[in-house]
Symmetry: C2
Subunit: 377 residues, 2 copies
Amino acid sequence: MKTIPLILMGCGGVGRQLIQHIVSCRSLHAKQGVLLRVVGVCDSKSVVVASDVFTRGLDDAFLTEICRVKSSGSSLSILGSKGGECQIFSNLESVKKVVDIASHLGRTTGLTFVDCSASSETIEILNQAVDLGCCIVLANKKPLTSPMEDYEKLVSHPRHIRHESTVGAGLPVITSLNRLLASGDPVHRIIGSLSGTLGYVMSEVEDGKPFSQVVTEAKCLGYTEPDPRDDLGGMDVARKALILARLLGARLNLDDIKVESLYPAEMGPDKMSLEDFLSSGLSSLDEGIDERVKVASSKGNVLRYVCVIDGSRCHVGIQELPKDSPLGRLKGSDNVLEVYSRCYSKQPLVIQGAGAGNDTTAAGVLADILDIQDLFS
Amino acid sequence: MKTIPLILMGCGGVGRQLIQHIVSCRSLHAKQGVLLRVVGVCDSKSVVVASDVFTRGLDDAFLTEICRVKSSGSSLSILGSKGGECQIFSNLESVKKVVDIASHLGRTTGLTFVDCSASSETIEILNQAVDLGCCIVLANKKPLTSPMEDYEKLVSHPRHIRHESTVGAGLPVITSLNRLLASGDPVHRIIGSLSGTLGYVMSEVEDGKPFSQVVTEAKCLGYTEPDPRDDLGGMDVARKALILARLLGARLNLDDIKVESLYPAEMGPDKMSLEDFLSSGLSSLDEGIDERVKVASSKGNVLRYVCVIDGSRCHVGIQELPKDSPLGRLKGSDNVLEVYSRCYSKQPLVIQGAGAGNDTTAAGVLADILDIQDLFS
């Protein structure tokens, strides 16, 4: 049996779903000759570590207990009383412990750090883990959108890192691009709708519904962040665009990307309360969007909020696109990516499907973990 | 530098294109720390082998010469006069030589057999190679559609085999399905248009053009096999469907699949000449197809020639599909696959793009070769 020791970082929705997938796939993975041994689980403050990381992982009952504790809103630190099976470390001590495990396991049995957090504070540990010979699997976009120097360090052993779920959740986007690049098929253009929220909003306004009404509905359906401006500002799409652009070799930073926000600066969270934005700010944007929809429609086009990567240029915002293109036909909250390369020059390679959700995001992370198994003995 | 020794089988369009890709990607792969060492190249009768397979491969000038010789229609055996750099073995002797190399390299440095032929005669060597610890990369569908017993032998070490280019050429179909399966996301339904030829034919008849005219045009455009019945019979699609069904765990053989042929048995190649089929047989099919097109159209549907894999059932033929579905919208010769699983339940995962052509097929093979690099030291 091949054993992959794991340290899981982040116990939010994706992290907890990943733990559940790992537990429920035990017999499936055993049939494939693989054992995923979770030696540690971190939240933002603490780390729970198996009592002897060299010989065993946290058992499935305990992993399930971690999910229960975290979904009830508690901190990992309350698990300390369990004793015997695990050790708890908190704050700075926890970072030291994790690095200590990495230095012991990294070069011997191998160790994989799985970052399902949404924090930019994991990058330091991840970079140390890379130095110590560990593998990295990310759902967290922040480490990959950090300054170029940190990024290059992180991906310095390309076979040791996987990050499918940073773009389009579990959709096979990164995998497919890596395959094209490995085969010497140069990708010269990517255009994609990579926000389920903005995909939904732009396809709904197309039929004449006011922008404010659509955004309010999207919020009610749970499609948006609690403050919809976190979606409407476009920074989440910009991070995904940066990850794709860097994968294609562009040496860009986040602030090199031109990002169109769907609300003006004077309605930003620092200048206007969420209540004011929802009650009056939003509706003041209706006319402008409606006009753009009509102009596009008169040319047989629709508006889509897309990222475009063209050579080493990268921008994010609203574009007019033919109604009858894969992006133009998009309805609902699916993500779509069109990839143009030598092999896909006239007609693009198109990948489409659900691009959000804890289940599919965690499934993508799990597929990444299984994909690095040949590096383990 | 990681070295992957290769034996290439098949010097048709895909095989020659692969050799050209390998040569032209030398510096790209060197940057990634990988060296592809071609130690042998086989056509149906002979094998050319590097003079010392343990220390070197055939050099790039010689590989290019192989492509030249084969594209001029000659046999590899005429390269014998080159001397020094290589050895030529023919017929049975060549099989013995290849197995001999596999037994020496398979368990020491590792060796990958790359089958770009269209022959069912490679299966015996491939199965011996598996026994000898070698890796397998296939563009050839035949070994994967052989009787279940041979198939199970071939895939007995799942991490040692890749075959992306057997379905949809370089489209990331197999890779994506393997990712879903590895993450415990059960795929319960696949529906796809996996023949560029039949995709083109079915979308053209939709606009009222007679079937016979569309097939004749497709033949002129080079979309069909020399005898279009090789496409219209559906067996090529059935082979792809079988590969997908087996990947999902179905224990089926080729003759378990219900295949709808677009021409009746009495017009088969054994009963009617190609000339007669093209001049009179084809046009006698126009009325039947036209009627089905009209019936479908009256319900807002179109006809598509698809494979459907539903649990362990698998069939291939014409289906009525909504005009406004990914398959219904298909135009031209693109392939499309819709995959339904737990994560993609209401809206499918859709993969679309060029599903034929030597360039994209060979690129898919090359990506597979790079994908197994972690098994080599």
